[in-house]
């Protein structure tokens, strides 16, 4: 078995999920200048809703149909949640000093976590064995069909989002609102609606990412959004927060870094940093980016935001 290629594949797969979550951070930051710390918890809600639906439906229907219903339910719940959060927590603070929405975001995050703990309990929830994935051999490495499906779907969502933002009327309105909300208003853009739409879009992609996390790890937990969120936030910062292609690049890179570091740091350091340290690397990356290149790989430095 080719370990190197295997780590690359694992990294890309994990990275594609990080990228999807990172998009939610970056789109909201782009349009509001706000770090929506509750986004990771929206992903968690998506994951737990999907787990509940799959558990309830079990094998009463074809697997693909079960997954489709689970994903659709997760998306619906998360979009509603994203819109409620925007409306009640952030919109009233739109003209407040920047610290206020930031603290609110942390509060919302905690509120969602403990509400989830009330609804689903604090124990881990496991994905019932409804899928029996096949294996795909790949030049000495191996991935499951489920993993291949996750990766292809994640890439398709990213491509569709790029196309949407680049060419659609709403996409153009999002970019205009991001650059200058007052002038966007002068063009006839209802910026309040565009901002709400951006939250909904980020939440729906986050919900799908939540389902992917469940499929990947086979379990979910009320606190899982914290780690997923922090890693995706790191990915967004790495790519340049506010930059959509940057979030995609940052997600994939972070997945690769984490996977390769987890695979090799143990050998390099003579077993001191084994693969159980894998969550550390994301934060090392975060600190390094903030120190060396705070605007990220593809970000615009704050000076030329007109």
């Amino acid at each position: 078995m080719d370990i190197f290629l295997q780590q690359i594949l694992n990294g890309l797969l994990l990275g594609s999920i990080y990228a999807l979550v990172a998009l939610g951070y970056t789109m909201v930051y782009g349009i509001l200048g706000l770090i929506n710390f509750a986004h990771g918890d929206i992903v968690m809600i998506g994951a737990l809703v999907a787990l509940s639906v799959v558990t309830a439906l079990g094998t009463s229907m074809p697997v693909m149909l079960v997954l489709l219903i689970a994903t659709a339910t997760a998306v619906a719940v998360c979009v509603a949640l994203g819109l409620i959060i925007e409306r009640t927590a952030y919109r009233p603070l739109r003209r407040a000093p920047r610290l206020a929405p930031l603290i609110t975001a942390i509060g919302v995050s905690i509120l969602i976590q403990y509400s989830a703990a009330l609804v689903w309990g604090k124990q881990y929830m496991s994905l019932p064995e409804i899928v029996k994935p096949g294996k795909i051999e790949f030049g000495g490495a191996q991935i499951t069909t489920t993993q291949a499906f996750i990766f292809v779907l994640a890439c398709a969502i990213m491509a569709a989002l790029l196309w949407f933002v680049k060419t659609s009327r709403m996409g153009r309105a999002m970019r205009a609102t991001e650059q200058n909300p007052d002038v966007a208003g002068l063009m006839g853009v209802d910026t309040t609606r565009v901002i709400a739409f951006t939250f909904a879009l980020g939440a729906s992609i986050g919900a799908i990412a939540g389902v992917m996390v469940v499929l990947y790890y086979g379990q979910g937990h009320y606190f899982m959004g914290f780690m997923v969120g922090l890693k995706a936030f790191t990915a967004a910062v790495l790519g340049g927060i506010g930059n959509i292609p940057g979030a995609m690049l940052g997600g994939l890179l972070l997945g690769l870094i984490e996977s390769l570091a987890a695979g090799y740091m143990g050998d390099i350091t003579g077993g001191v940093f084994g693969s159980n340290y894998r969550d550390v690397y994301a934060f090392i990356v975060l600190v390094l980016v903030l120190m060396l290149r705070p605007s990220g790989l593809m970000g615009v430095s704050s000076g030329d935001r007109a």
Partner: protein, 237 residues
């Protein structure tokens, strides 16, 4: 017939600072009206309030027979009231073509929009050459052309222009004012702020002079050009 725009007792404040302290102003359909005054007189503030970017503290704004006091900008533009803001406000990281498309955001007649785009490019050939360039990379004059062309894309009935000649070479100023006159001939009503008082009063039918948040003089443009106070204060004589 009542004027297209009718402003009564308009007051606008920034926190505790009163920038506009109660002004009356009328613009009739088809008129070309100038608003002149020294720096900090409150001209930009007035236009922003008329366009719905600032909420008036007091007074009323009637447009096209309706009370539109406090109506947000995105609704006013749907009724044909557009503003070219001070400092142009082009979307720097959108291309020239995308900026024009934003100007036509409220329309969905694709063929007519395309025709109007071509018309804009014919008026400003510099923009045509640069249509896929990011607007932030345009020169100041080119950005001003783009800002005006973009505002015209929404087919306004009343166009508010905030210092269209700011920072431009004389030849470009000529071009901009030619365009303004052409737009007026097509029946668009214009209210324009201008530092170059002579050019503004020579171009317009009527004028208002603003000082420290109040309108101190108004009348036919020709009469203002001959007014000794105006000549001393704004025409450098």
């Amino acid at each position: 017939m009542p004027p297209l725009l009718e402003v009564r007792g308009l007051k606008v404040a920034y926190g505790g600072i009163n920038a506009v302290k109660g002004i009356d102003l009328d613009v009739g359909a088809g008129e070309l009206v100038a608003l002149i005054g020294a720096n900090g007189a409150g001209k930009t503030t007035t236009l922003k309030a008329l366009a719905g970017l600032l909420k008036p503290a007091a007074g009323s704004v009637r447009y096209d027979g309706h009370d539109v006091t406090g109506t947000p900008a995105f609704e006013l533009v749907r009724r044909g009231l557009a503003l070219v803001p001070e400092g142009r406000g082009v979307f720097a990281r959108l291309t020239v073509a995308e900026n024009l498309a934003m100007g036509a955001y409220i329309r969905d007649d694709k063929a007519a929009i395309a025709a109007d785009c071509e018309h804009a490019y014919a008026t400003f050939p510099r923009l045509a050459e640069r249509r896929s360039q990011l607007a932030g990379t345009l020169s100041g004059g080119e950005q001003q052309m783009l800002a005006i062309a973009r505002a015209l894309m929404c087919k306004p009935r009343l166009l508010l222009l905030d210092e269209p000649s700011m920072g431009l070479a004389p030849i470009v100023v000529q071009k901009i004012f030619e365009t303004i006159r052409a737009v007026a001939r097509e029946g668009v009503t214009l209210l324009l702020i201008e530092q170059n008082a002579r050019l503004a009063l020579q171009t317009c039918d009527r004028g208002y002079v603003m000082e420290s948040g109040l309108i101190t003089l108004s009348g036919e443009a020709k009469a203002l050009l001959d007014n000794p106070d105006v000549r001393r204060a704004y025409l450098g004589e």
